[in-house]
Symmetry: C2
Subunit: 201 residues, 2 copies
DNA sequence: TTTTTGACTGTAGAAATAAAAAAGTCAGAA
DNA sequence: TTCTGACTTTTTTATTTCTACAGTCAAAAA
C-alpha cells in the first residue's frame, strides 16, 4: 500500500508538469501516461478518473502552499512582515501554477466536477482560516484593534485577489500575463496590504 | 443643428432603454429604430455606425455619473462621508447599467471597437482624476497623511472594483447578479473603504 | 492477488458547413 | 436636409460532421 501511494505521488507530479505547461484541459491522460512510460489503464488503476487525478494535484499544490506559509509565518514578528511574506508566497504559486487557474478566488471553468469545485472552496476556506488566525494573533498582541477576524481575513484576501483578477482581466489577452503585469500586481498588493494593515490599527 | 442634437439625444435614450434590458450585443439597430418609429437609415443619418451610437451612450451615462458625483461631493464634509456616498452612486449605476458591463475596471468584450475602448479608458482616467482630487483635498485639510494621490486613487478604485469583479466571477452564472450578491458587494466595498481611509491617516 | 496492458467504445468538443440575422448602403422620395 | 424601402455584405448562430479524448475490459504479467 505504501508502494501504491508512491506511485500515486509520481503520477501526480507527472500530471503537474504537464498541467503547468499546457493547462488541465489541454493535457490528456495518454500524455501523462506516456511521460511516465506506462499505459493509460495503469493511470486508471490508481485514479478512477481524471477528476480524481486533478483533485490529487490540487491537494498536493495547496499542501505545499500551506506548508510554506506555516514555515514562513514562524520567522516573522510583525503582522506587516508576515502578510508581506505571504504575498510573496502567493505570488510565487500564482506564477508557477498560473496555467491551472487556481487563483482568482473562485473555481475556474477547468475545474468541471462538483468534487473539484468543493475541494477548491475548501482550500479557500482553509486559507481564510489561516489568515484569520494570523490576524487574531496580532489582535492578541495588541498590534491591531479588536476585529471580527474571519470577516476581515476574508475581506483582506478578497481585496488582494481582486487586484489580481482585475489585472488579468484588463491585461493583454495572451494566455500568460507579462512580466511587467506580474510586477505591477505584486506592487499593488503590497501597497494595498500596507494601507489595509494600517487601517486596522 | 440644435434639432439634430435633439434627435441624437432621443436616439441615445432609446438605445439606452434597449441596452439596459438586453445588453449591447443583443440589441439591433432595427429594434432601436422601431422603438422610435423611424427607419434604420434614419439612425445611420445621425450615427455613422453602431459604435458611434454606443459611444454616445457611454458618454451620456458617464456624463450623468460625473454630474451626480460632483453634486454629491459638495454636500459632504469628511473624506469618509464623501467616499461612502461615491460608493452608493457607483452601486446605483452598476445596478442600472449592469447589462452594459461598463464596470469591472477594464473594457468589456462588448466594446468591440478601438474608439470605444479608448473612450472607456478615458472615463476610467477621469474617474481616477476625480478621486485623486478628492483625496488631495483631504490631504490639504490635514484629514489624511501626504500621499501620491493619483496612485492611491487608482489603488483605491481598483480595490473597490476588485471586490465587484470577484463577486461577479464567483457568483451564480446567471446573467444578472442576485439581490443578495449586490448587497454583499456594497457591504464589502464600504468595509474595505473604511479600513482603507483609516490606513491613510 | 495485485498490477499492467493492447485493443476497444461512447462521448464531448473541435472543425466545417449551412442558415439566419444583423450591420451597413444607396437611389430616390418627402 | 431629412428620411425610407429595398438591397448587399458581414457577422452570428445553428447544424452537422468528424476527431480526439476519457473511460472500459478481458486478459497477460508480475
Amino acid at each position: 500500500m505504501v508502494e501504491t501511494d508512491k506511485k500515486r505521488e509520481l503520477i501526480i507530479e507527472g500530471a503537474i508538469k504537464r498541467f503547468i505547461h499546457y493547462g488541465i484541459n489541454k493535457t490528456t491522460m495518454n500524455e501523462i501516461a506516456d511521460d511516465l512510460s506506462v499505459s493509460k489503464p495503469s493511470l486508471y488503476y490508481y485514479f478512477p478518473d481524471k477528476s480524481s487525478l486533478i483533485l490529487g494535484v490540487i491537494e498536493k499544490i495547496f499542501s505545499d502552499y500551506f506548508e510554506l506559509m506555516e514555515k514562513d509565518q514562524a520567522s516573522k514578528n510583525t503582522l506587516e512582515e508576515c502578510l508581506a511574506a505571504f504575498i510573496e508566497i502567493r505570488h510565487k504559486f500564482f506564477q508557477k501554477y498560473y496555467m491551472l487557474h487556481l487563483s482568482g478566488g473562485s473555481p475556474d471553468a477547468s475545474l468541471n466536477s462538483d468534487a473539484l469545485r468543493a475541494a477548491f472552496l475548501a482550500m479557500k476556506a482553509k486559507n481564510e482560516d489561516f489568515h484569520a488566525k494570523v490576524l487574531q494573533r496580532a489582535v492578541d498582541q495588541g498590534e491591531i484593534a479588536a476585529i471580527d477576524t474571519p470577516k476581515i481575513a476574508e475581506l483582506y484576501l478578497e481585496s488582494q485577489a481582486g487586484i489580481t483578477s482585475l489585472c488579468i482581466l484588463h491585461g493583454n489577452k495572451e494566455l500568460f500575463p507579462s512580466k511587467k503585469e506580474m510586477k505591477t500586481i505584486l506592487e499593488k498588493q503590497h501597497s494595498l496590504s500596507k494601507i489595509f494593515i494600517k487601517g486596522l490599527k
